[in-house]
Symmetry: C2
Subunit: 462 residues, 2 copies
Amino acid sequence: MAQTEKLDLVLTQLDKGLDTALQRLLDFLRIPSISTDPAHNGDVCAAAEWLRNELEILGFQASLRDTDGHPMVVAHSQPGEGRTLLFYGHYDVQPVDPLSLWDRPPFDAAIQDTAAGRIIRARGASDDKGQLMTFVEACRAWKAVHGALPSGLVLLFEGEEESGSPSLLPFLDANADELRASLALICDTGLYADGRPAITTQLRGLVGEEIVVRAADRDLHSGHFGGLAANPIMVLATALAALKDENGRITLPGFYDGVEELTDEMRRNWQALGFDVGAFLAEVGLKYPIGEKGRDPLEMMWNQPTAEINGISGGYTGDGFKTVLPAEARAKVSFRLTGQQDPAKVRAAFRAHMQAHLPADCQIEFHEHGGSPASVMDTSDPAFAAAKQALTEEWGREAAYIGAGGSIPIAGDFKRMLGMDSMLIGFGREDDRIHSPNEKYNVESFAKGARSWARILAELRG
Amino acid sequence: MAQTEKLDLVLTQLDKGLDTALQRLLDFLRIPSISTDPAHNGDVCAAAEWLRNELEILGFQASLRDTDGHPMVVAHSQPGEGRTLLFYGHYDVQPVDPLSLWDRPPFDAAIQDTAAGRIIRARGASDDKGQLMTFVEACRAWKAVHGALPSGLVLLFEGEEESGSPSLLPFLDANADELRASLALICDTGLYADGRPAITTQLRGLVGEEIVVRAADRDLHSGHFGGLAANPIMVLATALAALKDENGRITLPGFYDGVEELTDEMRRNWQALGFDVGAFLAEVGLKYPIGEKGRDPLEMMWNQPTAEINGISGGYTGDGFKTVLPAEARAKVSFRLTGQQDPAKVRAAFRAHMQAHLPADCQIEFHEHGGSPASVMDTSDPAFAAAKQALTEEWGREAAYIGAGGSIPIAGDFKRMLGMDSMLIGFGREDDRIHSPNEKYNVESFAKGARSWARILAELRG
């Protein structure tokens, strides 16, 4: 049988089985697997068990693997099915507060017809249960029609992604040989803004720091001491303001070491997206992009590093006014990294900068909150062109290589710990309200997502 | 009878009556006249009534005068007693939270023997019931011994000083002719730090502003939007940091207009105080004075203006980390003013500065929190030398002219609305813990305070 005929049978099978697949997903969504809330520990376990069971039905060797936290679900296809790919997703979900803003109970999953089309409404519908099930359904269809998968597969499902993945690195470390594959497929991203299929080929890294500046050993009266005693808020504001020059460039020495200019090819790719920065900002009530002058907006978002103050507090912040000169002030600061920027060096440069701005009488405390380098995929791997072609055929629109301004550390972890590149393909939409009330996933995303994976598996066959 | 003999009789009378006077003060202190708490409205009224009654007993024509808030107590001595002086104090007190930090119930007033000597322990003991009663007791002794006061007196007692004095200006305006005197005496300040008697001859003014900087219409994800969307915390930090140059000078155009250099005489006065800035700062865990280089520390505290951030908040400030790019950030900023600085001009310059630092997409909101000019008393008025002499004799130590870094707007209000200078004399100590748990007033302050006023009244006799 020709390969296209084999694939056509799989796609037909997926279309026939869509309603059943949706019912399966609703069952999965009804398990409230909120990983950050100990009251839901049993539910998280039940979701893992549900998945393991599904994968066994499909002929995988599937098991729950203990960690210090929630279990990993690991499944292997029968040996001898050629090249091996690893697929990653997570079966835990975000908390649901505030409940009152949901149209229906967040775990009473349902299909609804809305102005935006048919949707699956539930916590986790898009992030990440609906997405990971697109891959599982593609596997099911391949098995149903041909009795085998086109490639060897390892499936890895995590239950702690929404609570910081504390067990992931130890697990990768302890099971590196078992998990190493020729390429990782990660389904936790989205379509491009206009609904075009996309492969995310670069992610920014992240360095988070919390700082506390202290001066006097108590709050002082600003009349009595003002002009003599150091003010930690002013110290903090001055040091943080000095992180950027008047052009928006970050001033830390060596900060831009490792930042790489966009290749001409990727620049053309991004220009072809026709990104409308005005419309993008208008969505949130803004008009004018800030940032370094002379840079393309998508470049600023995806390929340039940032320095942001994510939180600040100090002194009296209640109603009215108190002329207090506070004993301390705090801030949370984060840097998004690109290219080869080294998180440890960025953190060290930031700490040196803060120390250099500290008056003699002040102390500063630093608390580390995560650090991961940027991930830039090597799109010259033929798998990328193949997957791009598969997506283009499924969606009837040219698939795009895009970047992401956020950080998905798993891609960097796979690279660093398993020496494995990742391909990030997902079908979420910007209006999916992940992490917010009324999360949804379009039925179209689910159906075409599963068909996309069926095609990609065909293209990447071992 | 010679004037010194007349005074000696009054002083002897005060000494004899000290225990009774202390009991009277304890009665007064037992009335929980917390002006800011509506639950205590009846108590505030009871304290006013208590005062009116005391003053009537002393032969004053005393009355409660309605305002939109708590009543004023106004008392006039019998006409024909020569030159008229106005005495001001306040009978309301601060809240008492946290109650658990008090050694005894804050309104169960008592005399206690402590390592620091005999003290009166209660909320309001020092601020301001104990202080105002030093003057009332001096009047009582004069009347008791001589049947008359040495000067005509108007007594004005306010019940809203601890809650911002909202009724004071309208009351002064409506009753200007009745209240205008040749000089105001205000008893709401303290001895110099080392216990030396002092007249406060200058107070800094105050301009308070609350600002809110807004950018996007919601909190954004700093990964998604970082680098394109304005960050209100960074905007705020940058604008506030730019309020001072690297030498600690305030950069607002025209800010120093009206700031006056210290006269040689006042500079000599202050140098004679032997202010130990190291010891002063060591009390609160600091070592090095900040502020404009080359200025004397007392000059920085009392005769130079300041810009301080009293509070700041924005973004995520809880435990852990959220990579949020917040919709808004807030700060409370105050300026202490000296000399002839104009509060309205300083406020306008600050607002213009903030506007000038605002990126195109940000909005800023300003909320006014009080504005009062500095008060600088004319010490060439012979009343100052006379009172200084009286204080020196009572305390056996050279009385000092001192400044205060804080703001007591009443002195400026008297000047502006009644054309009347003020003399600020008080007997509080730095360890009185006003506004804090375990407020106290030294019995010595109370006894010598009353004797001081008896002497000052003699010196200023009409």
